[in-house]
Symmetry: C2
């Protein structure tokens, strides 16, 4: 008998197909042992779930707000979408890095033939803070670009494709190495990881790319560093505050490139989530470890 998997809050044909392809049977929540939840808003989530629900698949990669709201409790597994969107997010990072190095923002703004300050990504060092699934996908995409990769992970365990890996408590040593990509979860430990000191340590030709969460960067310190030309630029897909309010200094800062949380594009999001759901249903059916299970103690 295939396990009954509920889908909420609304039916979604592509996810229904994924559940069936993974070996589950779509059914109502009151008969289900698993739930795939498709609404990003914490408030949308049911206050109480039937005890029979052993596993909940959430739609987003970052679940800090769900944890804060105490929604990920009870004796069951919660899985996030970590990994599901790694490929598109990593692609966005390469787009942002190359746009920065190639001076594309200045070119977009130009209304006459000029001499923008164009460099190459080749030959540079890219520091990737957080070598989870996004970091690993990014390393794979950068492989042919002749960059040196420095990874920073919690414990500093070597990461494939990285020339060096440092533990998080030594991150201060790598700010000066080159471009910096933030792909770490938002936790108390990573809040304002990129602060005034980090920005001051960075190279003047380096770009900061953030596709993680806005709070990893001290926005006020960044605004000052950009205005002073301490770094070449910042490409931010996430901001703090987010959405970035109209009139914020970053909107008019030529060294800032803001993309409105689109690293995982809406146009392809469901495709990626469906692939992830299919794989997790298959694992659930086969009693294998689920992808991206929440560690409620670590906070992600």
């Amino acid at each position: 008998m295939p396990p009954i998997v509920a889908i909420g809050p609304e039916p979604e044909p592509q996810i229904e197909r994924a559940v069936a392809e993974g070996g589950g049977e779509v059914g109502p929540l009151e008969h289900a042992e698993a739930l795939v939840w498709l609404d990003y808003r914490v408030d949308s989530f049911p206050d109480a779930l039937p005890d029979a629900v052993r596993w909940v698949q959430l739609p987003s990669a970052g679940v800090e707000r769900w944890l804060e709201a105490g929604r990920l409790e009870g004796d069951r597994a919660f899985t996030t979408a970590v990994g599901a969107y790694s490929q598109p997010v990593a692609e966005h990072v390469v787009a942002l890095l190359l746009a920065g190095v190639r001076a594309l923002p200045a070119c977009v703004r130009a209304a006459s033939w000029g001499e923008p300050d164009v460099g190459e990504l080749a030959g540079s060092t890219v520091v990737i803070v957080g070598a989870g699934s996004i970091g690993r996908a990014l390393i794979a995409l950068l492989a042919p670009f002749d960059c040196e990769i420095v990874a920073v992970t919690r414990r500093g365990r070597p990461v494939d494709g990285a020339a060096r890996t440092l533990p998080a408590d030594r991150v201060a040593e790598v700010w000066r190495a080159g471009h910096v990509v933030l792909a770490a979860p938002a936790t108390a430990a990573t809040r304002h990881l990129v602060d005034r000191a980090a920005l001051a340590a960075m190279r003047s030709d380096a770009w900061l790319v953030n596709v993680a969460r806005g709070a990893l960067v001290d926005t006020d310190a960044l605004v000052e560093a950009l205005a002073a030309g301490e770094i070449a630029g910042a490409a931010l897909d996430v901001t703090d505050p987010e959405p970035l309010p109209d009139g914020h200094a970053l909107w008019s800062e030529p060294r800032a490139l803001i993309t409105p949380h689109v690293a995982n594009p809406a146009s392809t999001e469901l495709d990626h989530l469906a692939r992830h759901v299919r794989e997790n249903v298959r694992r659930y059916v086969n009693g294998e470890p689920l992808l991206a299970q929440v560690d409620t103690e670590a906070g992600y």
Copy 2:
């Protein structure tokens, strides 16, 4: 005895080192059997060279103006910089493709949080017209991006890494396949290769990228196609006319992304040329075939 290699019009320490490292000896033109010419301007080139000069290395990849001016004559070898700048130019193509697909021009122009129309490069088809050294370098860079590569070459001989290769006389069949990258030499046969019909055949979500020569595109037809939204956009590192004059329609076209002939960035150009010169001097010294020898009949 190492061959005497002259460098002109001015001495250049980095090129002098490259000549020495390749096994040559830098000396005056009147005693030289080879000349490395560093000035891009055709008019700068000596009217007549000593008969003893058996080989001339030119600084640019495209030499159509040198050929038109009849400067590449006499019983000697002329080599271009084809291949020397392939890596940085290919990197620029990836920057432009990703910028287009990821809607970065719209993001740069935005002054408030919005919903730009962002897509992915993954899953798309990239048509590369001209699979010379730039095209091959581009295929290598795109390898991890999960794109299908379609190559168009003069004779259609299969290209490594391309799913299909078509001969130039069947190029009309591939316009509809996806994004189009122009990396073919400017010849009589490629003039206005991308004309009204080609643009009309292209997909509405496709980007046209030109890093070859402006004349490969019918600019007037492109302006119309962009204004009508027939294609998603055009990222042009080369234009016709070039430089693109102030007030030209492309400067104000939101679907156009113009970079002012910087795919091969000035900041790293001499490094790449020096590497090329060193290898060609080594080949000359050893009697091996030179890289990028001009075929004066084919016109490149």
